[in-house]
């Protein structure tokens, strides 16, 4: 099969859908001839024109509100938020309107919109352009939250997100844009709420999201040399969360390490850990659950500091060993 980068897979998923469905359009800052801050929409305005590749003023709240309004009245907008950090400005529309309208209206109306947004550190963009704020939106009932880790996953999950009748926050990790994997040419959908076991193992379960999936895989390869067998579960979507797969894995291994890039304090890892503690897997836990997340500080600029602010492969290795009393 041909290989595609994560970035190309995002673009391809959108393009395939837009060719089929006139209701789908894209709104965002600098997504027109510029091609978007990361080049995801490059070439799209040429194909779909400025009406459907709608370049907006720098008005995150306005764009988000317009997306909600158009979604409520029959369109299926995709909104590109240039950096996921900027969600703070659009959050009222996403949290107070998009997430709640259907419930507030007693089941009337729907808001089929996708907020696509690059997140994560590692580019040296420092504190206001490097955050991972997925736990905020995962907290809000009415939103769905997706964090793909591979090119294959991103294409299938974006298709599912576009098909979904609910607002979906779709996190694309900046450092993953250039990674590639085999991606089928045709359209396909990966259901939201279905975790993927990225590696099977028996001693410890690592639940890792986004870029941490790759770091966990690296750690697992190292640990294998020492005879430690690690299972890696990539939830792929935080909301809905595939609790069953995680519970099954932890029941099997008896040990859990949760890894995400977002700040550990109040991060989604706490949700996964608590979910396990409340589940039937609790009785199979044979070591305290270990969480790895970003430090409680803004992302620093200096590359060494930046690296140290989020979990790295040796941290994961150590965490696994600690869980195994090794």
């Amino acid at each position: 099969m041909r290989e595609l980068t994560y970035l190309e897979a995002v673009r391809e998923a959108m393009s395939l859908e837009m060719r089929k469905n006139d209701d789908v359009f894209l709104m965002g800052e600098d997504i027109g001839v510029y091609g978007g801050a990361f080049g995801v929409t490059r070439g799209m305005i040429e194909e779909f024109g400025p009406e459907r590749i709608r370049n907006t003023p720098i008005s995150e709240a306005g764009i988000a509100g317009a997306a909600v309004g158009s979604a409520l009245t029959g369109m299926r907008p995709i909104m590109e938020l240039q950096f996921s950090d900027f969600i703070t400005i659009a959050l009222d529309q996403i949290v107070n309107q998009a997430a709640k309208l259907r419930y507030m209206y007693g089941g009337k109306g729907k808001v089929p919109m996708v907020v696509r947004t690059p997140s994560g550190s590692g580019t040296g963009a420092a504190a206001q352009h490097s955050q991972s704020l997925e736990a905020w939106v995962a907290h809000i009932p009415g939103l769905k939250v997706v964090q793909p880790s591979t090119a294959y996953d991103v294409k299938g999950l974006l298709k599912a997100a576009m098909d979904d009748d609910n607002p979906v926050i779709f996190y694309e990790h900046k450092l993953l844009y250039k990674t590639s994997s085999e991606v089928p040419e045709e359209e396909y959908s990966i259901p939201l709420g279905k975790a993927d076991i990225k590696r099977e193992g028996t001693d410890v379960t690592i639940v890792a999201s986004a870029i941490m999936v790759h770091k966990a895989l690296e750690a697992a390869a190292e640990l294998e040399k020492e005879g430690i067998s690690v299972e890696i579960v990539d939830p792929r979507t935080l909301v809905p969360l595939d609790t069953e797969t995680i519970i099954q894995s932890v029941t099997k291994t008896g040990r859990l390490v949760v890894v995400h890039e977002a700040v550990k304090r109040g991060g989604f890892g706490g949700e996964i850990a608590s979910m396990i503690a409340e589940s039937e897997a609790f009785d199979y836990l044979d070591a305290p659950i270990k969480r790895l997340g970003g430090i409680s500080a803004p992302i620093p600029y200096n590359p060494e500091l930046e690296k140290a602010a989020v979990p790295q492969v040796p941290d994961i290795i150590n965490a696994v060993k600690e869980t195994l009393n090794k």
Partner: protein
Amino acid sequence: MEQTKSLKLVPEISDEKLKDLYKQMWLIRYFDEQVDQFFAKGMIHGTTHLAVGQEATAVGACALLSDEDKITSTHRGHGHSIAKGGRVDKMMAELFGRTTGYCKGKGGSMHIADLDKGNLGAMGIVGGGIPLAVGSALTAHMKKLEYVTVCFFGDGASNEGSFHEAVNMASIWDLPVVFFCENNQYGMSGNVKEMTNIENIAERAAAYGIPGVVIDGNNIIEVINATYEATERARRGEGPTLIEAKTYRWKGHSKSDAKKYRTREEEKDWRENRDPIKKFKEELIEAGIVTEEEAEKIKQEAKQDLDDAVQFAQDSPMPTLDDLLTDVYA
């Protein structure tokens, strides 16, 4: 039609329609008066924002809208809902938290929506509905649909960033939307002048390159005329208009409002001399469209509708706990 002329209406409106508008105003008044009383008795909970005294803006702005046309509403939205064709029984049922309510008892006073009638819903967030109206207009624009979207908001919302972002976007894209500001002159705790340093909010239109007009919001004729002009412009693809209708809410901002920011005398003046319903009734009588008796009859009909609505609400079933998790996701 002669009456039209004597009423100084620009668009042509039938007598029946005018009588219906008169009835709508009474429905709004009775509805909010009744809600006020029920709240005071603790029969309905939460909070509420009443539009008593502001009947002309809602009814006037929606007078000529079809069911395809959209509105976005505000926390003070009962009037908009009634004016856009909403049913008072379903509204009252909603306030009573019943399953027959517009939102099955899950939305309450601040979130009444009736998508079938083009009411995209009331918003509890000040200014929250303004970009949403732009989105609605964007749909009309992209799908080449005929409808316009009238976006209600208050004087306070015009200080929200969302207002500026939305008006700007609608302007640059020439979207079919009418920004309708109901300036009732008071925020929750004070006069609009304390928060805005210009005489008229409509002046802000100039900053975004669209027309801005100021009208008497307690004069329904003026409201109808101005809205008609703005919607026609929008439908022609010439873009949005900002209308500022000056009006006055008789009640406090919400239930817990002692109205320390204004005088009893001022209130009395607006009640007695600038009552929009009274004014419309006088004009209808003067134009020979209704007699005093007919007007009284229409008022009683409205009262009866409202009593029926209360009965309907009280007879309606409560939701069960099973409904708690439904409709979170589509």
